[in-house]
Symmetry: C3
Subunit: 255 residues, 3 copies
């Protein structure tokens, strides 16, 4: 339904706007992922902020362009911060992304993720193992479209290939590299990039396609020179930083 060239162009437009406008993404995320997430956002041209202090999170969100809610660390302080933050985001009609990290390992975390889903995230990025505890059912492409429609959100289901759907439109992105699964917080960084794209693009499906495709293409480029996951972790940041329209056109794989 969407021509490959058209999607490459739209993704390149979104990335160019991120670099131009430098949206600030406020991240409520786990301590494992914070540093890498911040560096990935900076490489894309966005600006990260990370505080979870309840006293000041509203002030930080007031001047932000998007919010990331990542459940990678599920402590009481972060849960309180998320509640305050979603109140501020709702008032500001700001886009926000839910990343339900590792909910398959903890019923309490899964329950909390379902409550957050009911608060209407602009998009959800997750992997196959996290799909059933959040949405019920198997993580097939068709199921992703159904839950996206039912929840009125965009679902970005990432893995060997990445499916992005808003219920109506659906694209399967075939970019990426096996080493992306061997660097911690790579998925978290993808969710943060999705926030950056939402900060400059009101079509949430398109923002998600742009962010996921850009990270996948950057991963392929990093894979050309990396000698393992250690060098890959830096190389994908380099590649994202240098990613241009011609490279997106040459490499993007959509179906």
């Amino acid at each position: 339904m969407h021509a490959r060239v058209e999607l490459a162009d739209m993704a390149a437009d979104v990335l160019a706007r991120v670099r131009d406008r430098a949206p600030r993404v406020h991240c409520i995320t786990n301590t494992v992922a914070q540093n890498y997430t911040a560096n990935m956002l900076l490489a894309a041209g966005a600006v990260p902020s990370m505080t979870i202090s309840p006293e000041e999170i509203v002030s930080f969100i007031a001047s932000a362009d998007a919010l990331l809610v990542n459940l990678g660390t599920f402590d009481a302080e972060r849960r309180a911060a998320i509640d305050v933050a979603l109140g501020a985001v709702g008032a500001a009609r700001m886009p926000w992304v839910l990343d339900p990290v590792f909910i398959e390992n903890s019923p309490g975390r899964a329950q909390f993720a379902r409550e957050l889903l009911a608060r209407g995230p602009t998009a959800v990025r997750l992997n196959a193992a996290e799909f059933a505890p959040l949405f019920g059912g198997d993580p097939a492409d068709e199921a992703a479209s159904q839950v996206a429609k039912a929840c009125a959100t965009v679902v970005a289901l990432t893995g060997g290939t990445d499916t992005v759907t808003d219920g109506g439109r659906r694209v399967v992105i075939g970019n990426g590299h096996a080493l992306m699964g061997e660097v911690t917080a790579m998925g978290c960084a993808g969710s943060a990039l999705l926030c950056a794209a939402l900060g400059v693009e009101t079509d949430a499906w398109l923002a998600a396609v742009a962010a996921i495709a850009a990270l996948g293409v950057a991963g392929e480029i990093a894979g050309l020179t990396a000698r393992g996951p250690g060098s890959f972790a830096g190389a994908i940041i380099d590649a994202l930083h240098g990613l241009d329209r011609a490279t997106l056109h040459a490499r993007i794989k959509v179906a």
Copy 2:
């Protein structure tokens, strides 16, 4: 007592099993070390998880293969998490490793480490400065064997050379590189690797030998190309990721 070739083969077997079975290591560790520890575990083929939330740590441990207890940040939340986690580990008869980071700088932390030692870790990894506050006495090879026997644990005393002993068996490993001491959390990562090995090998002494030797050999390989500690930090992850039986045979140094 153990031939060099035999140990290299046994270490290679343990590493192969880690890659094959992908044991999950639950890490209660400090925020300085979390990201690097996770990436080191992934490079070895293991799966990290890191939550310290008391509500869900039992659930995470139920599906884990080993537990790391690292005292690098000694806050109230982590102390509570450790207590809950050790209860769950005891019930599951799961291996766990104590890493008494920096206890020489804090009497309270040293006292807490001694209480944890009394709860029977499968292994303890520490450096020379941490030896006396935990065990009393000087960190000589003979002393390490004595305390390992007295505490019915495996002691991995790392530094210029690394001593691994269970009281009966003792080996001194001569691999490693000076830059390993100039990257933060390298010791923490070594303790995490030891957990990964314990997740697939019931002989805790052998698991410790495999983990410590593998990290030392990876460090030597990283040292061949690193231009300083910044590039070394990534290169040792690359080297661990690519480490094969032939390289272990060629490089392992034991006495």
Copy 3:
């Protein structure tokens, strides 16, 4: 007023003393910056410690050489730790550095920073956006000198160029690289290096010049080979680790 060659020599002397004496810098800093700050300190030859537990922070500070107070995460636990730490530092007459990260985004954080300023930091490192909320007024060179004099502190105002002043002496350092602004926690790491220099040099202005110039020169060297911010983050650590007197002489730019 200070000849370029003279400053290069003094900076090289300070760095040599850091490597020789390995001062321990206790860092109360945010979780985004902890790992990178620790690695930067190690690369310079200093020793990092990071605990914020109120029970043991006094014990850690008792054997430290300098304290970093970074406001990058403004949670209740860190605020309490800062209060306890400053009490211990005052008793020990130990140098300490205030880094008022992101105070332009939060009135509460800015107010807290002003209270800390009243407790007499040895030096303050900040960027232009943080200047007005802390000191009032525009971040011009002349204003930096005035507030340094009024507050009896050293001000290191970093950005495209870096101004270091104690009210009497003022130098503008022209080293650095654009990618330094695209790696998270680079400013935080600069503040930590300033602490390391203060641990071996009682002239706080000179310590600040040495730290800021060294980081800027290391950044220039890293920029020669980096392919983007990912590789730059490691390369600047390599460059700082290998920085020698001849390179400082050849590259330092002061006005």
